[in-house]
């Protein structure tokens, strides 16, 4: 098991390096003065050059070769001091260092990008975590009941409602919730309150999750061990909770692992409509304002969370299902 974890962690390195390489190329192939002009439209050239210097865009791109110390750089100056630096005194290697040290620089409001992210994670988790837990518990419970009553009116009703819930796009939930609770019933605010977006996050995930879990549970109820348990006189509740649920956990964990990153990245639409200053809202404003430091930090951390949640799903599946033989065991 430990060997497996180590191997999985090692496999992260090329994946994460790929993420690094892509983001480096995206942010560093542009003309630095153009990037500066985006940050400060109409600023005089000197100010743009200052920005280039402050953000190290005047450094050589990959390797610090001798001729770089003799030529005019993007900040409008010649830098003889480059000659005193090593071969790796370049944008690429500085970026690589920052990447491993989680130093993403200052955002457009002059705050460390990581500090900005730290401030936003709280509201996002406050919204997404309860919604995540409730929607999983609720959908698993309903799916289990539907599987138990398969083919009965209850099952058919659940299937129909799930399909309806799945079919509505998120903006429909948002507008309907605002209209019903905020405008007609007038019992919930349409802004600045966590409950409406939380209810939407639960409802929007419920349909697909119920259908998925029901399929998984149904598949398990047809297996031999269920028939054996039944023939030995085990009750249906015992069969469902003790055997079916446990043996269905592998696909359930996999599905959950796909959702975990959203806990951190948040929901852009929900946060914007309901005034939750979380990570989704931050992502939108960072992209709209070309806030490179924040975008970079979000990309790296998003990738990291994806990889960690995939690892967590694998480990949880291995724990839940003894049939899974981990390579090397």
């Amino acid at each position: 098991m430990i060997g497996y974890i180590v191997r999985r962690l090692l496999a992260f390195i090329p994946a994460w390096f790929g993420v690094f390489l892509l983001t480096f190329l995206i942010f560093h192939v542009h003309d630095p003065l153009t990037l500066a002009a985006v940050q400060a439209p109409q600023a005089p050239r000197e100010r743009l050059q200052q920005w280039v210097r402050e953000h190290n865009y005047h450094l050589p791109l990959f390797l610090n070769l001798p001729h770089h110390a003799r030529e005019e750089r993007a900040d409008g100056r010649i830098h003889p001091e480059f000659a005193e630096q090593g071969l790796f005194y370049s944008q690429f290697f500085q970026h690589l260092r920052s990447f491993f040290l989680f130093e993403f620089g200052l955002d457009r409001r002059e705050r460390p990008a990581l500090e900005t992210l730290g401030e936003r994670i709280g509201p996002t988790l406050g919204l997404m975590l309860p919604a995540f837990v409730i929607s999983i518990a609720l959908s698993a419970w309903i799916a289990l009941a539907a599987a138990y009553f398969r083919g009965a009116p209850f099952d058919r009703t659940v299937l129909t409602l799930s399909t309806l819930l799945m079919s509505a796009p998120l903006p429909v939930y948002i507008l309907a919730t605002s209209a019903i609770f905020g405008e007609w019933l007038r019992i919930l605010p349409v802004y600045n309150h966590l409950l409406p977006p939380m209810l939407i996050a639960i409802a929007a995930n419920l349909g697909a999750q119920i259908r998925f879990y029901r399929t998984v549970f149904l598949e398990e109820t047809l297996r031999d061990y269920v028939r054996t348990a039944r023939s030995r006189g085990a009750g249906e509740a015992q069969i469902l909770y003790k055997h079916v649920l446990r043996n269905s956990l592998t696909p359930v964990f996999t599905q959950i692992s796909f959702s975990i990153p959203y806990l951190v990245t948040g929901s852009l639409l929900l946060e914007q409509f309901f005034g939750v200053p979380g990570m989704g809202d931050l992502l939108y404003s960072a992209i709209a304002s070309q806030d490179f430091a924040v975008i970079k930090a979000l990309v790296y951390i998003g990738a990291l969370v994806y990889m960690l949640s995939a690892l967590a799903a694998d480990l949880a599946s291995a724990w839940a299902d003894p049939r899974i033989r981990l390579a090397g065991n």
């Binding site: 542009h30 003309d31 153009t34 990037l35 002009a37 985006v38 400060a40 439209p41 109409q42 600023a43 005089p44 050239r45 000197e46 100010r47 200052q50 210097r53 457009r108 409001r109 002059e110 705050r111 900005t116 401030e119 936003r120 609720l138 419970w141 948002i174 507008l175 605002s178 609770f181 905020g182 405008e183 019933l185 007038r186 019992i187 919930l188 605010p189 349409v190 802004y191 600045n192 309150h193 409950l195 509740a237 914007q272 409509f273 309901f274 005034g275 200053p277 809202d281 931050l282 939108y284 404003s285 304002s289 070309q290």
Partner: protein, 629 residues
Amino acid sequence: MQAAPWKLSALLAAALALGCGNNPYGEFPEGRVFFTSMEETPTTLDPGRVQDMDSVYIASNIHDAPYNYHYLLRPLRPIPAMATALPETGQRRVNGRAYYSLRFSIKPNLRYADDECFADGRGRAITIDDIILPIKRAADDAIQPFGKPFFEGALLGFDEFNAALAHARTARSVKQPASLADDPLYQAYQRDIPGVVRLDDYSVELLFEKPAPQSFFFFAMPSSSPVPLECVFYYDGEKRPPYSRRAVASGPFRVAEWREDHLIRLVKNLNYRRDDFYPSEGAPGDAEAGLLERAGRPLPMLDEVRIYVIRRAPPKWALFGQGYLDMYRNRLDLQERLVQSAELQERYRKYGVRRTSQTEFSTFGWVFNMRAELFGNNLELRRAIALLIDREEMIRLFLPGRAQPAMGLLPPEFPGYDPEYKNIWARGDLSAARRHLRLAGYPNGVDPATGKPLEIQLFDRAAQGRAAVYRYYIDRFAAVGLKLKVEQVDFPSLIRIHNSREFNLVHWGWGADYPDPETFLQLFYSPNISNTYNVSQYANAAYDRLYEQMRVTPAGPERARQIRAMHALLERDLPVVLFFHRQGSYFTQPWTAPVKPNPIDLAEMKHWDVEPERRAAEVARRNALGGPR
């Protein structure tokens, strides 16, 4: 097991009950608190750095400046704010050389808001040194100065000071100073600019080597607001937050809370000068609109302004309709929604919602690349393109109630605007366009070199909801046989295209920062080709001469003649196709004081007022179950 759904329902019901009504603030706070919204958070509150409209808006209301514009009178009239009177201008001889002089004094007893950056935590007195500092900061290239163009090449010693600051910044970047005394930048700021003469603790004289009448407008912009140097260095961004977030100011409000992308809470600055009163004189119609009811009241009238950052329109519409926003400052969406919805118009009428519209000081259109092969030497082609778009129709279809057609560069109510001026190319006329296409060498829009319709690329910044407008453009081009290809690009790419001039036709717009026609007319002055202002690269010696004369000519018939002549040249040479001037609207609730938007001076919050008791009663009525919708 059986009870689980009921438990869950009960839990949900309890949660709903906790919400207990749709008031997003729980309940209204005590005092005269005004609720409004904006779409983006400011990037900085440092008055020397403000650039985007959201930052300018907040900065204008927390920083005081030597001059403001009269809240009610139109055309805009500068009035003394921190200054004792309008500046004295004239010529002066110093050491045998003649200079153009601008001299003014500020009032004594002005103070900054209290802040920990001051020795005893109490806002210190403001002297003329605090007014001189923004002039010095305008020379600092690291501060993204709006102010630099006002003084560069004109104010005695300004350019040398600019070079000294750049040098100090370089020295500082090589070796981080241990203390202020070692800080080369701090030392550089201690130097004087020879053209900025401190006459006494409250008076200053500026000496210009050549006429620079527009420099006065700097002192009516937030960029000129006094800045305490000790606080700029105290809030260094390392041990403490940067000054851009903790701007210590002297305006009517101070920032009490700033929750990124969510809320900015401004509270009354108790150290604000005591001589600021609501005006008792207004423009025609102001008295009837109730704008003089508060004449003579001390400003600011509110205890607090809460500005929520709400990016999406639907929650704003809902909150405003429910009465939880006192004002809806809007350029786009609500006006359009109102035009389209008779039901909403009726509801707002019933609620007593007021709508105040004003033409913004902005102009939009397309510019041709005058140095590109396609358009540069083909006036007839430019004329044909100009005649394709029917401005009235375009506004009716896509900007109802949000724009008015542009004849010239200057918007209505802007100084120098000529209501009689009619631009013969600012109309839609497809048959005339076909005629000019033939003269241009593209009969029926066909390019003789290829035998196919001439394809023209139009660059624009990518934005949501533009597809219908582009379809309209494409159809108008197709009607004369041309093929329009709209290239939507991201903002960095559009800037690159503007700077490198890699375009034939590009979307273009300009908003005025100060009320002088020079700000619009500089956009076609050929020396401005070297910066990004003259995007079209239009170069005409006669236009340049007129511009140089107009810059220094006082308002009057002579200046009007110069402006007319410049417009005539633009009409003849057609480097730009003018479409519209944008209109904005303020929607306000009946429990607020009437407002009058100002297209330049955004220091407006001090004139706002609210009746909290009336609001509480009306909001309760609007939001009661079964209440009015």
